[in-house]
Subunit: 618 residues, 2 copies
């Protein structure tokens, strides 16, 4: 009843099609030397002249004819009437074949006396020592490194022919606004071509972003025609799906042919590979992470066919912290936080939502779960592709558990110390589980026991006998967030937005409801769950719910009313063996620092009396 993909094509087949169907001849562009770093040589580069062109003094001293110095010795000084004074880099005149260091010369007017003979060619930089005229400096297809610009300048090279793969990027969609403009409800900031242009430029492509085009086949067609004429590759952003306003495939079919519509990758399925005037035209889906995946898995390998050397990601084996299930037949790409915990690598999948760009911001690695698999089980060792260098990955600090906005501020301070804090919002009980499986460095939690104490009872129950320690981040206020001051007792008469099961806030809510005798089913919306304090506040701000429970800082960040319900103890549980780890030690120092207390004071709703206080489990 609606048009659908007739069939999807596997990623391997897409690469084969790109290989077979396109010649991929790169353009060549001449750039000035100063602009050449990072560019790829189109042809070998040769030295224009020898360096040095003639013999030069390698030391400050005198140029001599070595034969004249024969026989000189401590007891037999020789005076050299024909020697000449030279500084380092000066020409050694013809007929001279050695330089004597000035320290070894006794000077009296223009008379030079020595007490040691000189070997032929000593302290002389011979012509061509560095390079000979016509010698090859760089081969083709070489990514020019910054320090090589010095050599190129010295060898007389001022312009360099480099590969120039021209990529035209066309944003389409009537809902788009340019970044910098505040999107009205239903409008979206055009960000995918910004991302694609930045990614492809870094790989050496020359990108042109065309003006945004509305969902009008004629306008899109016109722009695609212009872009194909001016570029080697054209990428059309959005409109690649099969909805009522998706025109990308039709436009490509009209101007050329659609080779592939629908690729068995996730995210990124509604992608298109087409050909117009012999050139590849890619339909890039509109979801940001779908677009990212198409750029990384399809456009980047295509660039390599034009000669741009695309670095393959480095792969390491890591233990996965949660299970990923997926359909057989689809290559799924999952963004992750990767870190070294103890003596092994651990990888935590991020949200798999194709619209959650923050997954890409937070990720330092990604997984490819291959088409022929149903997924990975938690605890398995799986191959992970690093998005950062080895050292940067080793600086990753993995925090799993209860979320609080101050974790972001901790991350800010840690970043100044060169440590990359990755926080997985799994709720307090999720933190306990991660700690039990030894999959994180620290687990933030606020778990209220029936006796009114926090955290220790849960650690004793779920991790008995383990060597753990608690570090207090802060006492913090939880309360009812609303637009107009709803109190805890008034909750049954308003729509509510809840936190997920296993979160400390959910447990606190249940505890407090029980205390005042309210039965959870009485609260409309009790079953609607989100996973962070800010998400609760936002649901209230947007009108989806009238009330929720969160920390003061989240309510305040969105300008909402907050009625305190309880103060709780927000602590980090840490295995003692990690206290000596430099990353964990830096985290603990940060929490105990005056800077951090000052931030807690500024955010509000935190009691810092116990901040930085250790609590050793009995």
């Amino acid at each position: 009843m609606v048009k659908r993909y007739l069939r999807v094509t596997s990623l391997d087949t897409v690469h084969d099609i790109l290989h077979k169907e396109f010649a991929c001849t790169p353009s060549v562009e001449q750039v000035q030397l100063e602009d050449a770093a990072g560019r790829i040589t189109a042809a070998p580069v040769f030295a224009r002249y020898s360096v040095p062109e003639i013999h030069l003094a390698a030391m400050d001293g005198i140029a001599v004819n070595s034969e004249d110095t024969a026989g000189a010795g401590e007891q037999r000084p020789v005076t050299l009437p024909h020697a000449v004074r030279v500084n380092t880099g000066n020409i050694v005149p013809p007929a001279y074949d050695a330089v004597i260091m000035i320290e070894d010369v006794w000077i009296d007017g223009d008379r030079f006396t020595i007490r040691k003979s000189a070997a032929p060619w000593q302290h002389v930089r011979p012509a061509g020592e560095d390079i000979a005229e016509s010698e090859m400096v760089l081969p083709s297809r070489h990514r020019i490194r910054p320090h090589e610009l010095g050599a190129l300048a010295a060898y007389g090279i001022t312009e360099i022919d480099v590969l120039a793969v021209q990529v035209g990027l066309i944003p389409t969609g009537s809902e788009l606004v340019a970044h910098g403009q505040l999107p009205a409800p239903g409008q979206v900031v055009e960000s995918n071509t910004v991302m694609a242009a930045a990614m492809l430029s870094e790989l050496g492509a020359t990108c042109t972003r065309y003006p945004m085009v509305k969902d009008d086949p004629a306008l899109i067609r016109d722009t695609v025609q212009r872009a194909v004429a001016a570029n080697d590759i054209v990428i059309i952003s959005a409109g690649s799906s099969a909805g009522t306003r998706d025109f990308t495939a039709d436009v490509i079919a009209e101007l050329g042919e659609v080779l592939v519509h629908g690729i068995s990758i996730k995210p990124g399925k509604p992608a298109i590979i087409g050909r117009v005037a012999g050139k590849p035209v890619i339909g890039m889906p509109g979801y940001p992470l779908s677009a990212l995946t198409v750029v990384r898995e399809i456009a980047a390998p295509l660039l390599s066919r034009y000669g741009l050397p695309i670095p393959e990601p480095e792969t390491i084996e890591a233990q996965i912290t949660s299970t990923i299930h997926k359909e057989i037949g689809t290559d799924e790409f999952v963004l992750c936080a990767l870190g070294r915990v103890g003596d092994r690598w651990v990888v935590s999948p991020q949200s798999r939502g194709a619209g959650v760009q923050m997954s890409a911001v937070r990720a330092n690695a990604y997984l490819n779960v291959p088409a022929n698999m149903e997924g990975y089980e938690a605890g398995e060792c799986v191959p992970v592709r690093r998005m950062v260098g080895q050292r940067e990955a080793e600086q990753a600090l993995l925090i799993t558990g209860s979320h609080d906005p101050v974790i972001d501020y901790l991350s800010d301070i840690m970043s100044r110390k060169g440590i990359d804090l990755h926080s997985t919002h799994a709720g307090s009980m999720g933190g306990i589980l991660a700690l039990k499986k030894d999959e994180c460095h620290a687990a933030p939690m606020h778990l209220l026991a029936p006796d009114g104490s926090y955290n220790t009872e849960y650690l004793k129950k779920f991790l008995p006998g383990e060597d753990l320690i608690l570090l207090c981040v802060a006492g913090r206020q939880q309360g009812v967030v609303s637009r107009d001051g709803i109190t805890f007792g008034e909750l049954p008469t308003h729509t509510f937005i809840n936190r997920q099961k296993g979160s400390g806030t959910r447990m606190l809510l249940d505890f407090e409801l029980k205390k005042v005798g309210i039965d959870p089913p009485c609260i409309h919306g009790y079953e609607r769950e989100v996973t962070t304090h800010l998400a609760v506040a936002l649901a209230v701000k947007s009108g989806e719910a009238e009330a929720g429970m969160c920390v003061y800082s989240a309510a305040r960040a969105l300008g909402l009313s907050f009625v305190a319900v309880a103060q709780e103890r927000y602590e980090l549980a840490i295995r003692k063996k990690y206290l000596k780890d430099t990353r964990v030690a830096a985290l603990c120092d940060t929490i105990a620092s005056p800077d951090f207390k000052e931030i807690l004071g500024r955010l509000g709703g935190y009691d810092t009396k116990e901040t930085g206080v250790w609590h050793v489990l009995p």
Copy 2:
């Protein structure tokens, strides 16, 4: 009798001094989003609004109130009068809480019928799913990755405060000419500030190169004053030594103070650390590799003190192929070619001459031989710092032995295949030794036995019983190179330039001399050695010698006369076990390719009849 360094300072002490003496407060600069990739955030970046701001459809379909769908089933269709058609990304209107995929809807005009109930919030992207208003997107001191520009655009961020460390670079020296200008004898192209600017810019600094200044203390002083006023760090190129025209230290002392003059590093000893108006002023020595070392070991770590995250080089253990001796007390840095041979890493030191910039072009790694050591012995395992990624290092192909200009052309073709050919010019016998120690992938050689055969006799003698194979690169002509057609018989009456002992060319010369009964001591210059064919030709062209022996292509490259003496067999010896290695296989394929034969033909002096022919040792 001349001024010298009073004392040199160790590299560690220099870092301590930089740490103690300078506050290193970075400047902050606002850049447009599109220019932000690679820059370092000066402060945390927050989302300006939530994304999405309101609930959106995650699928093409209909928006419904989930309560209205209760009870629908295969046998019990439900018609929904109030549903509305939505495409992916459209607003889910208030009072609707779910989306049903269009595939699951039977449409009749504006009547929508379903056969399955909808769960609340299914296929809805809730407000804030990606990010909530006010949430932290990036922490401080974060290097912005290209793909993050998409998220930043989507979250309403158009300008970003980034760190801006301003570095002023002042080239000094009366002998300097700008690159692009042909240097007259004794002139030098100013290349060190080009290199330093490119290297420091890549690390995130904002570099300004000042116009070249002659060796005049007043002019230098004036430029330093202007540069200090406008920059955070000033680097004065050259004049940092203690020669008669070295004014850098005096100028710094006059304007501020010299903290360090002379650092115990090699290359780079004549470096200066000074302070003018509270800012660090570095005197960078004039030899290109000294300058490079000072930029990498002193200026780059200094940038990190301003908050720019400077990636530390990754270190691996490799077996060193030649012995390095050095003075105790000096940190020596040696550029190297690193590659994986069999199951271990092998590292070959390059020329240690501070003027040989090609060492830096050819290097993919470097060693730091620490101050407290006398050096490394050949065969030791030593820590090596990689200058390229792990994968690129794994693609390095190590060739050690006799030099021929065609090796550069092989390197060019290999580079197009993504393989990084590193050639160490060790002469034919050096190649045999490297092969014996299993330190290279292939060894080019042309060793003439008394019976007139090539190579096999030497392999049998020096590598008895080893599983080797020879691949013919070409038959090639060796002959006498001169300006005016000197013949072999005329050699005793002219000055000569020789090749090093152990090179095949030297052995051929000796063989041919013996044949015609010329005694080597009769040849003036027989003891003067250089290591490549082009260096021989250049010595002839520059007038240093009247004749030498080299291959035709080298004579032709410099426009010299060539009188053929003999044709020899230039072959690659390879251990059979490496024939399956993809790098070696690609090399062999290349040699057998028509493209390569065409290049040999173009260069001239090569006989390609046997090119690509295998020679299995009996």
